[in-house]
Symmetry: C2
Subunit: 330 residues, 2 copies
């Protein structure tokens, strides 16, 4: 299995990216990699390995670049060259921690959509209290969505949860502001009907955002605006609460001693909320797996994103999605 | 100043409601109240006070009742009779901790919309880390909204923040998935233009949900679907994290001792996240202030909701909103 890696994307590139790459090469014996980026910098960190080939990319897309323009103009960037390798079938899937918009644009214009899929969707996996996690899509690839798009998101998310996350009969929920059938806006009311009638997945009805971290569903379907909003609200609430907690723990000598006694428990709490174990966000609906690793990925997070791309490619997620989307249209 | 109170609504009615009423009568010397509900039950808890008059209401709207039907049929319920008192100008404003949908319906059909206001909005106040808080509207009165509705929400929220919360030139932000002007869905892109051109308030542009608890704006404007989603996501994330924290604090003898040393700090942390100090959610755009106290209100939360209704009525918020909406249309 050969994958393509963008070594230059993300806040901690290239060092942490390549430490993740080294680990993946060590732990996954049949993994082969094409590593795109600055040859000199890459060779500083990449362990010598016959299964890893450096491909020099003279340019890099920055986080501040306008995504679509960057993909069109920076043809020799590590991100675009990585996507080209997938398009030419030199690699089965690709992973980048770089500019999200640029990766989505490269996915769409270079890798290409699966026939029948109207809109690709960005699908991160979130942690839950029970440690099982859930995948949510769309988390922001397309701000506006039609009911038919949400139906396709449900198909794609369900295939992913089953084939990659190993969940039998994944529970698919529609993100809404109430659990009753008639709740919501025009979009969710129409989507509810479509999802209820579909046979390709196990629809459990509406789920509310306050139940997400309690594991209300394995796959949560929503439009990209709402998904992105909820993603950022969960992140922001957790960060704010943890920052207040940190101030509380260091407020006095007494509280510092208390914090010391709680050290292990607080670390395990933080690990529970850590989504790096779940890999990156998949860009679903493309002809090959494209994984967006978190911009702040460390070696561990990037390793899990590589693992995720590998599993998606190995279990043929894109072709199963294509078959299911086609059968749903019959 | 005479207000109308629904003594029978909410999880802790009538006891906690009436303890809040007793406190309000004690602390606010010119407050007069009409207290609607079961006369016998009310007189058990309500302190004898010449400024509080019990009005017997034989019926009650339950949390499980279908809102619009309940308001139409249960004419002798405490909630509907309270709204009627406002409509007949026997009271200047009203407060209930009961069925949110029924209170919105009673607000709309019994109290009535301000001329020129197209849609009333539900406006709760959220805590922020710095303790100042922000008001968000619409939190769910109308799932679907047009750009013009968001413009009116901005006017109403700004008047409230200035007159009731005492904020000079309140910062009005549009809730969006990015801070740049062109971010978002069709609704937010169109609303951005309208809000930028308006003169009636101080628009600061888009705000992201992850910055809300950091105090990104004093007034946050959004459609009711998104607002309700964000409200429930913040609540749910906070509850999930606190529940995990609680397990961590009681995991072992060692951690229990640690928790004991941190007792004060953890209590102050919880208080910071407590929105009962900010009163209930206002239903803005009606001819008189209608306040929805939280369903789980205790005496303290209900007291603050009464205080909020009093301030809104005293500073003539509805008539200022009417004037500003009319002037914006010229």
């Amino acid at each position: 299995m050969k994958l393509a890696i963008d070594a230059m994307g993300g806040d901690n590139a290239p060092e942490q990216i390549l430490l993740g790459v080294n680990r993946a090469l060590k732990e996954m014996p049949d993994l082969e990699l094409l590593v795109f980026g600055d040859e000199k910098k890459i060779s500083t960190y990449l362990d010598q390995n016959s299964r890893a080939q450096i491909v020099h990319a003279p340019d890099v897309i920055l986080g501040t670049d306008e995504p679509v323009r960057a993909v069109r103009r920076k043809k020799e960037s590590s991100l675009v060259m990585m996507a080209e390798a997938v398009s030419k079938k030199e690699a089965a899937a690709c992973v980048s921690a770089g500019n999200t918009g640029a990766l989505m644009a490269a996915g769409l214009f270079v890798v290409g959509r699966i026939d029948g899929v109207e809109r690709p969707a960005l699908a991160p996996t979130f942690p839950t209290i029970d440690g099982k996690g859930f995948v949510m899509l769309d988390a922001g690839a397309n701000s506006d969505a039609k009911p038919e798009h949400l139906l396709q998101y449900a198909v794609m998310g369900s295939v992913y949860a089953e084939k990659v996350r190993g969940i039998d009969k994944p529970r698919v929920g529609l993100l809404n502001i109430g659990t009753e059938e008639k709740k919501g806006n025009e979009l969710t009311k129409a989507a509810f009907k479509l999802l209820s009638d579909a046979k390709e997945f196990h629809f459990i009805g509406n789920v509310e955002s306050r139940e997400l971290l309690n594991g209300a569903a394995d796959v949560v379907v929503t439009d990209g605006f709402t998904g992105n909003m909820v993603l950022k609200t969960i992140e922001g609430s957790a960060l704010s609460i943890f920052s207040m907690l940190k101030s509380a723990l260091t407020a006095s000598t007494k509280s510092k001693i208390g914090a010391l006694l709680l050290k292990e428990e607080l670390r395990s709490l933080k690990n529970k909320m850590d989504y790096s174990e779940y890999g990156g966000a998949g860009l679903f609906g493309l002809k090959a797996p494209v994984i967006k690793a978190h911009g702040s990925s460390d070696a561990n997070a990037f390793f899990h994103a590589i693992e995720q791309a590998y599993k998606m490619a190995q279990s043929n997620v894109p072709s199963i999605i294509e078959t299911q989307i086609a059968s749903g249209k019959e």
